[in-house]
Symmetry: C3
Amino acid sequence: MRPPVVLVTDFGPADPWVAEVKGALHTAWSRWPGDTPLPPVVDGGHDIPRGDVRAGAWFLRRLWPSFPAGSVFLAVVDPGVGGDRLAVACRAHGRVFVGPAGGLLAWLGAAEDCAVVVLDRDLYRGRPDGGPVAATFHGRDVFAPAAAHLALGVPLDQVGSPADRGALGSEPPPAVGWSIRWIDRFGNAISDLARDSDEGRRLESGGAVRVGGALVHGPAVTYVAAPPGVPFWYWGSGGTLEIAVRDGDASRLLGLVPGLALALPDP
Amino acid sequence: MRPPVVLVTDFGPADPWVAEVKGALHTAWSRWPGDTPLPPVVDGGHDIPRGDVRAGAWFLRRLWPSFPAGSVFLAVVDPGVGGDRLAVACRAHGRVFVGPAGGLLAWLGAAEDCAVVVLDRDLYRGRPDGGPVAATFHGRDVFAPAAAHLALGVPLDQVGSPADRGALGSEPPPAVGWSIRWIDRFGNAISDLARDSDEGRRLESGGAVRVGGALVHGPAVTYVAAPPGVPFWYWGSGGTLEIAVRDGDASRLLGLVPGLALALPDP
Amino acid sequence: MRPPVVLVTDFGPADPWVAEVKGALHTAWSRWPGDTPLPPVVDGGHDIPRGDVRAGAWFLRRLWPSFPAGSVFLAVVDPGVGGDRLAVACRAHGRVFVGPAGGLLAWLGAAEDCAVVVLDRDLYRGRPDGGPVAATFHGRDVFAPAAAHLALGVPLDQVGSPADRGALGSEPPPAVGWSIRWIDRFGNAISDLARDSDEGRRLESGGAVRVGGALVHGPAVTYVAAPPGVPFWYWGSGGTLEIAVRDGDASRLLGLVPGLALALPDP
């Protein structure tokens, strides 16, 4: 079956931008000869904080393992649109990622199977209605047409010009070590401390982490295994340390926000 | 044509959780042999108040009659995830419902065609990337794989172990009799008083209902049939009594919230 | 390939209304004989300010050129639902638009290829579960069944009774001349002053526009071409004048809201 095109943007829910990107996908597909089944289009998430490429990268890293090999991620967190940052497509982890070079996609350079092209070919660029690329909307006019064709099986090196991994750009250096990366609707705080890291393995049998002035014990197995009202940590569904409180909101209770550092006990 | 998989959750719009569930569906489908067309995936709603299984049940009851027979509802309002509540799938009303036992799905037990299985089979459980079930995310690792296979026509009793209706768990008893169950974006208040109930038939020819201290007259046929500024009741599109005010917001005007009791005139 | 059905409503994200409309589409399709591939369903946008047909019309005009010919737009901003306003379908610009007559769709009357029908045929109306049309939910019971059949190729004049363009109703007269029509998530203010209008051509080589007391210079090519902190105007991706500030929020900085007039320099 056909793998999906997954959209991850900072466009928010209310504006026409997400739908225009989807229109560009369908317009590209409508010009395809024959009767190929359409790839499904999935909203990966459109509430990345605006312009926050680090949050976008976190979101993509969280998302891709749930999607099948061959999926195409169309990622647009793009404060430098129309400037001199490159537009790229990258095959990595058996999936394809399309978007602006820089912190949003630079992490893909570490994948063993990483292959990169620069989206510089006029055949795969342009407005859905045939006009030239809009300088302020590459999501619709550059990334969508490329993603549309990649999802139909057009080879990577036909959609753009092969480049080395450096074309992915570089990630801004992290401000702190392990940290909170996302607060979800339940007030759960999701960190980037992986269970299968050295520090993670050290915590495996239990221990406390310090965050925002509080000492949080764990691991618990799940929410209902913990006493109500007492914050705890657990290994979350993405394989990293998370902090929650049963039937409550850990983020409000402890003042947790993205970027807050996580301190581990001394080894 | 293939009926859809309909997602109803309390995951909200901003987090990766909804997309991970969709990824799990597509991952299951990508492993299916042959070239079956993909079932469409529909967002039923993701803004159920968090952990509110009664609101989730109301939403599902409201939604299912609009979808064709054979539709699969993947419902996740699951504060007890990872604890001892059962994970179930239920055929009822010609549709299939997948989710946690308890108040979210217990109402299905009253359907004549109700058949229940417990989702305990390893073949239909697990992370999309092949790992074990995450104790905090059964939406992705238990309910999604089951729903994916049910939507492709895998029989109910193959996806889980047949159980009696009691496995659906029980609904929390209602705090009051007839009540407001939902306030919509227009400020309309939707109650659970059905037109085809005894009390509904009694109101059919007109009468006033009392709610939150106000006496509201009706029925009106539609919004523009009522005078501006005066709240009224009418038989809503779901077959229950609703309260609105033309070109206004009845919920704000009268202080209506979910749970507020509806008092009828004496017979 | 099959063009999509695009939904544009003021239903918001939280209520069951959007999903019930989608259920009605799938229910209509489930009754179709044979094995036709399903048309994709795209969320065009559901956050049109409630009842604001002018904003809905702006959104539709912005959206349609990104979608392929043959796309079906199901548009519901319908404060007069159940009253005497007509329900219509209109072929225009090579697409099909379905919704309430009045300001939402009246602008289609100017299209050369405009053809209109009134949705008055019982065969293409009714609740998904077979009941009569609900007076308060034509989105589900009138517009969705019509859109579902039009998307499968049922001819326009079979779905409704041919009518002249007058059946589209009329647009409320604009309060001002050129104006701000939409503020997006980035705080960018999008006006309706088209680059290819007489006034637009006059501004082509540069000049200042006055809005809300501020004088804004331009055009810039894209955001990063402008100095930080200084608002500027540019030709946006929809071909009209927009106002932004690099890495900032022009709407907050200048107090811009929809409806605010745009004053051009004297010719």
